[in-house]
C-alpha cells in the first residue's frame, strides 16, 4: 500500500472515483497475493498440517522449490550425506516415534538413492513419506536431465505413490500420502513433485490428512471367529503367543502383556517383534527363527496352539513351512487381511488391530488354559538351551560380551539400532529388550548400512534423556559411514560400536558351513581404523582390543556428549549360534557347526 500511495498521492488532480478504483484494485491484488501460494508452499503447509517437525533429505535441482519453501517454515531439516541415509533415518524415526518419518530427495539419482530405504520400510511396514523432485511435466518421459520414472520404480516397494499433477492438488497428494503411511498396516508412500507443479501457483488451501474412500481398514475382528479362537486357546495344552512387529507398531504391548500374564501363555517374538514383551519376564522365550533362541524354537515347533499377532510369517522365522508349528492350530491376528494364510494357513483368521483383538479374545475367554506343565517345560528349555558363548580367559574378545556389557552400562529405555550381519544377531540375542520401540533394525530387507543412519533418525525421534547406541559390523558400517558427518554437524549423542571382525561375517559363516570354507570375497583385511576414521569426521574415536580395556572404554564412549565410534576388535572366528539353516526345521536348530 505504501508504494501505491506514493504513486497516487502527488497527483492531486486525479479524479476521486478513479483513485478509489485504483485503491480497490490494489486491495484485491494484495488479497489475491496473500491467498496464493506455490505448489511447494502447499507441500510444506501439508507437512505442517500433518504435524511434521523434522525432515531428512538432500538438496538437488528438481526439489529446490520445496527446499525454498522450507526456508521460511518452522520445520527442521537434517541434511544427510546420502539419500539412502535420509530414507533409513526417516524409517528409524517412524519406528521410534510411531509417526511417519519424512525424507526428501531430488529427481533421478536422488530418488533412486532412496530406493533401498523405501524397500526396507516397505518390508518392515514402517511409516515413511518420501518427497521426490521431478523434472518439469513437459519434459517427463523425454529422458530429461536427472529424470527417472520414480512412481514406476517405487510402485512395487511402497504402499502407495503419487505423481503430483497440479499445484492445486499437490497439497492433497502429500496429505493423502501421510494418511496412508500411518493408517492400518503402516508403510512407505512417495509423492513425486515435478518442478513446474512446485513452482506453479494455487489458491487451494492445504487439507488435513485423510485416507482415500476406497481404503477400508477393519479394526475389530469378527465376534464369531473370536469366540472360536478363544475356545481353541482355552482348550490348548501347550499354547504359545507369537508376537510380531505389528504388536509394537499397533501400540499393543500393554494388551499383549495383560493377555499373556493373565492366561500364563509363553511369548515368542519375531525379530521386528522384539520389545513387544519384556525379555526379562518369566514367560518370555525371546526371538524364534533362524538365529532365535533354542527355547523359542522348541516351543514354536511343538506348540498345539499358536496365537500369532501382527506377523507375516517371514521365511527367516518359519524356516521350512512344512515343519513350522505342524501340530498347532493357528490363530492369526493381523490388520492386513492379505497376510492371513499367505504363508501359514490360519485356522482362525482374526482381521483387526492387535490391541483391540487381544482385548476381544480376552473378553471371549471363559477361563484360562491349564498351562502349568507347559510353562514348566518352557522354563526347562530355557535352562537347557540357554544362550551362551565360550569365553575362556585367553580367548580374543567375544562380541556377545560387548553387547552384554553395553546393555549393562545403559538404561532400560536405550534405543539400539544395528546394521545387518552377525553383529545384528548378537545384538538380538545378548541384549535384554524390555520396552517397545527400543529395537530398530533392518528386518525384512536385511539392508547392510542401516545402522548409522537409523541411529540418526532414532536420535531425532527419541527423548533427550534416552540413549541411542548402534551396533554395526565393519562391512555394514563401511556402507554408510559417511553419515558420521551428519552426527557431528548436529552434535548428536550416538555411540556406535563397530564389532570388527574384518569380514562380511555372516557370509563367511555360511561359506564355512555350506561352501566348504571357500571364503570368496567375504574377508576384509583392509578395513580402516574406525576410531581414526571417526576422528577424521570430527567424532570421538575409541578402540577396544580385549577384555582388559573393554569396560573402561565402553563407559568412556557412552559418556561422550556427541557422536562416538568404538572400533571393537572381536574374535574373528566367532559365529552366530543357534542357527536354523535356510529353509530348515526350527526344532532342529544347530548349536554348533557339528549340528549342521
Amino acid at each position: 500500500m505504501t508504494e501505491h500511495g506514493a504513486v497516487t498521492e502527488p497527483d492531486e488532480a486525479e479524479p476521486e472515483a478513479e483513485s478509489e478504483a485504483t485503491e480497490a484494485e490494489g486491495v484485491d491484488a494484495e488479497e489475491a497475493e496473500v491467498a496464493k501460494r506455490t505448489g511447494a508452499e502447499s507441500v510444506v503447509a501439508s507437512l505442517e498440517a500433518a504435524g511434521v517437525e523434522t525432515v531428512f533429505g538432500v538438496q538437488g535441482g528438481a526439489i529446490m522449490p520445496v527446499y525454498d519453501a522450507l526456508y521460511d517454515s518452522g520445520l527442521d531439516h537434517v541434511t544427510m550425506a546420502h539419500e539412502q541415509g535420509a530414507a533409513h533415518a526417516a524409517d528409524a524415526y517412524g519406528a521410534v516415534s510411531g509417526d511417519p518419518g519424512v525424507c526428501m530427495a531430488t529427481s533421478g539419482p536422488g530418488a533412486t538413492n532412496l530406493v533401498t530405504g523405501l524397500a526396507d520400510a516397505d518390508m518392515d511396514s514402517e511409516p515413511v513419506v518420501a518427497l521426490t523432485g521431478q523434472v518439469p511435466t513437459e519434459l517427463v518421459g523425454n529422458d530429461a536431465f536427472q529424470e527417472t520414472d520414480t512412481v514406476g520404480v517405487t510402485t512395487p516397494i511402497t504402499k502407495s505413490n503419487y505423481f503430483a499433477s497440479s499445484p492445486d492438488t499437490v497439497g492433497e497428494d502429500v496429505s493423502t500420502a501421510f494418511a496412508l503411511a500411518s493408517h492400518g498396516r503402516q508403510g512407505p508412500t512417495v509423492v513425486d513433485l515435478p518442478k513446474d507443479v512446485t513452482t506453479g501457483e494455487t489458491d487451494v488451501d492445504p487439507v488435513e490428512p485423510e485416507v482415500p474412500g476406497t481404503v477400508d481398514v477393519q479394526t475389530r475382528a469378527d465376534d464369531e471367529n473370536v469366540a472360536a479362537a478363544a475356545q481353541t486357546i482355552v482348550d490348548a495344552d501347550e499354547p504359545v503367543i507369537l508376537a510380531g512387529g505389528g504388536v509394537v507398531k499397533g501400540d499393543a504391548t500393554e494388551e499383549l502383556y495383560a493377555f499373556a500374564t493373565e492366561h500364563e501363555i509363553p511369548v515368542v517374538t519375531t525379530m521386528p517383534g522384539i520389545g513387544a514383551f519384556p525379555e526379562d519376564h518369566d514367560l518370555a522365550l525371546e526371538m524364534a527363527g533362524m538365529h532365535g533362541t533354542g527355547y523359542a524354537n522348541m516351543a514354536i515347533t511343538l506348540t498345539d496352539c499358536l496365537l500369532a499377532v501382527g506377523t507375516r510369517f517371514d521365511d527367516r522365522l518359519t524356516g521350512g513351512v512344512d515343519s513350522f508349528a505342524p501340530d498347532a492350530e493357528v490363530i492369526h491376528v493381523d490388520i492386513d487381511p492379505a497376510e492371513i494364510s499367505k504363508n501359514i494357513e490360519a485356522d482362525h483368521p482374526l482381521v483387526g488391530d492387535a490391541g483391540t483383538v487381544l482385548d476381544q479374545l480376552d473378553e471371549a475367554m471363559p477361563t484360562s488354559p491349564d498351562t502349568e506343565a507347559w510353562v514348566e517345560q518352557c522354563r526347562e528349555w530355557k535352562e537347557e538351551y540357554r544362550l551362551d558363548y565360550a569365553a575362556p580367559e585367553d580367548e580374543p574378545l567375544k562380541p556377545q560380551y560387548v553387547v552384554e556389557a553395553v546393555d549393562e552400562a545403559t538404561d532400560r529405555d536405550t534405543v539400539v539400532t544395528t546394521g545387518v550381519g552377525q553383529h545384528q544377531m548378537w545384538a538380538c540375542q545378548f541384549w535384554t529388550y524390555t520396552e517397545p520401540r527400543t529395537w530398530v533394525s533392518s528386518h525384512g530387507l536385511g539392508a547392510m548400512g542401516y545402522g548409522l543412519p537409523s541411529a540418526i533418525g532414532a536420535r531425532v525421534a527419541a527423548d533427550d534423556d534416552q540413549s541411542v547406541v548402534s551396533f554395526d559390523g565393519d562391512g555394514s558400517f563401511l556402507m554408510t559411514c559417511q553419515e558420521l558427518v551428519v552426527a557431528v554437524r548436529e552434535q548428536m549423542d550416538i555411540t556406535v560400536f563397530v564389532l570388527n571382525n574384518e569380514a562380511i561375517g555372516m557370509v563367511r559363516q555360511w561359506q564355512d558351513a555350506f561352501f566348504d570354507g571357500r571364503r570368496m570375497a567375504s574377508e576384509y583385511p583392509w578395513v580402516p581404523k574406525f576410531d581414526t576414521l571417526a576422528e577424521a569426521f570430527g567424532a570421538d574415536g575409541f578402540r577396544i582390543e580385549g577384555y582388559d580395556d573393554a569396560p573402561d572404554v565402553i563407559e568412556e564412549a557412552l559418556a561422550v556428549d556427541g557422536p562416538a565410534v568404538v572400533d571393537v576388535y572381536i574374535d574373528p572366528t566367532e559365529d552366530v549360534y543357534p542357527m536354523v539353516p535356510s529353509g530348515g526345521d526350527n526344532g532342529q536348530f544347530a548349536l554348533s557347526e557339528d549340528h549342521l
Binding site: 514406476g152 510402485t155 512395487p156 504402499k159 502407495s160 505423481f163 496412508l180 482415500p212 474412500g213 476406497t214 481404503v215 477400508d216 533354542g294 522348541m298 515347533t301 511343538l302 510369517f313 518359519t318 513351512v321 512344512d322 515343519s323 513350522f324 508349528a325 505342524p326 501340530d327 498347532a328 493357528v330 492386513d336 487381511p337 492379505a338 492371513i340 494364510s341 499367505k342 501359514i344 494357513e345 485356522d347 537347557e384 538351551y385 540357554r386 544362550l387 551362551d388 558363548y389 565360550a390 569365553a391 575362556p392 580367559e393 560380551y401 549393562e408 552400562a409 569396560p551 565402553i554 563407559e555 549360534y577 526344532g587 532342529q588 544347530a590 548349536l591 554348533s592 557339528d594 549340528h595
Partner: protein, 209 residues
C-alpha cells in the same frame, strides 16, 4: 560393571536328534495336513473382477502386482464402465485355491481398487477374437464363420478376416476350425465378465457412489 564370568562354555543343550519332535506336517503352502496323507492343491481356472477408480497408473499397479508375485495370469481386460470415474478389470487366473485367495486380497490392497470378487461359475463371460486366415477356400471360411455366428470384417483375394465373440470354449473351438485354412494372425481380447442376473459384480460403498 560386574566382573566378567570366565567360565562360560558355549551353548548347552541336546543335539537335534535327541529333541522332542512334533507329530504333524504342513504342505509347501503352509496348510496343516495329516502326515500320512498326501494333500495336493491343484490349480483351477477362475475369473476375478475388480472395480477400480479410473485413474492413471491403476493398470500398471495391478499388472505389476501379478508379475511380482508370480501369479499365473491367463488374461486381463480393462475398460471404463457406466460411470466415467470407474473402470472394471477382469482377470482370468489359474492358481491353486490359496493363490486365488492371495490374488483377491492383494488386489484389494491396491489403493484405487474399490471392490474385488471371484465370479461364480455361472457368470456371463465373453471374449472377442479377430482371426485372419488364407482366402484360398472363401466359401468354406464363410461357412465356419456362419456356424460360429461370426462376422466377416474383411475379405480379399489372399486373406479373410473375421470376428467372433463367445465364451472361451467357443473361441477355442472356432480357432481350431479355422486352422484348416491356414491362420495368419490372431488377436484376442481376453475375457470380460459380469455376474449373472441380480447378483452384483461389484459392491460399491455408499460414500463412493
Amino acid at each position: 560393571m560386574s566382573e566378567r564370568d570366565t567360565e562360560r562354555e558355549g551353548l548347552p543343550g541336546p543335539a537335534p536328534e535327541d529333541r522332542r519332535r512334533p507329530k504333524g506336517r504342513r504342505t509347501s503352502q503352509g496348510i496343516r495336513v495329516d502326515p500320512e496323507v498326501e494333500a495336493e492343491h491343484p490349480p483351477r481356472r477362475t475369473v476375478i473382477s475388480a472395480l477400480v477408480e479410473h485413474e492413471p497408473g491403476v493398470l500398471a499397479r495391478v499388472s505389476g502386482l501379478f508379475s511380482r508375485r508370480q501369479f499365473n495370469i491367463e488374461s486381463l481386460t480393462v475398460a471404463d464402465t457406466q460411470n466415467d470415474d470407474w473402470a472394471r478389470i477382469t482377470v482370468v487366473v489359474e492358481e491353486p485355491d490359496p493363490g486365488i485367495d492371495q490374488v483377491e486380497k492383494q488386489l484389494e490392497k491396491v489403493v484405487p481398487v474399490i471392490h474385488v470378487r471371484e465370479l461364480a461359475d455361472d457368470a456371463v463371460t465373453r471374449e472377442l477374437v479377430v482371426v485372419k486366415v488364407d482366402a484360398d477356400r472363401p466359401h468354406e471360411v464363410h461357412a465356419i464363420t456362419e456356424m460360429y455366428n461370426g462376422k466377416t470384417l474383411d475379405a480379399g483375394p489372399r486373406t479373410i478376416t473375421v470376428e467372433l465373440t463367445g465364451d472361451e470354449q467357443k473361441i477355442n473351438d472356432a480357432i481350431d476350425a479355422y486352422r484348416q485354412f491356414g491362420i495368419r494372425e490372431i488377436a484376442r481380447t481376453g475375457q470380460t465378465a459380469l455376474a449373472r442376473g441380480e447378483t452384483k459384480t461389484a459392491v460399491v460403498p455408499d460414500h463412493l457412489k
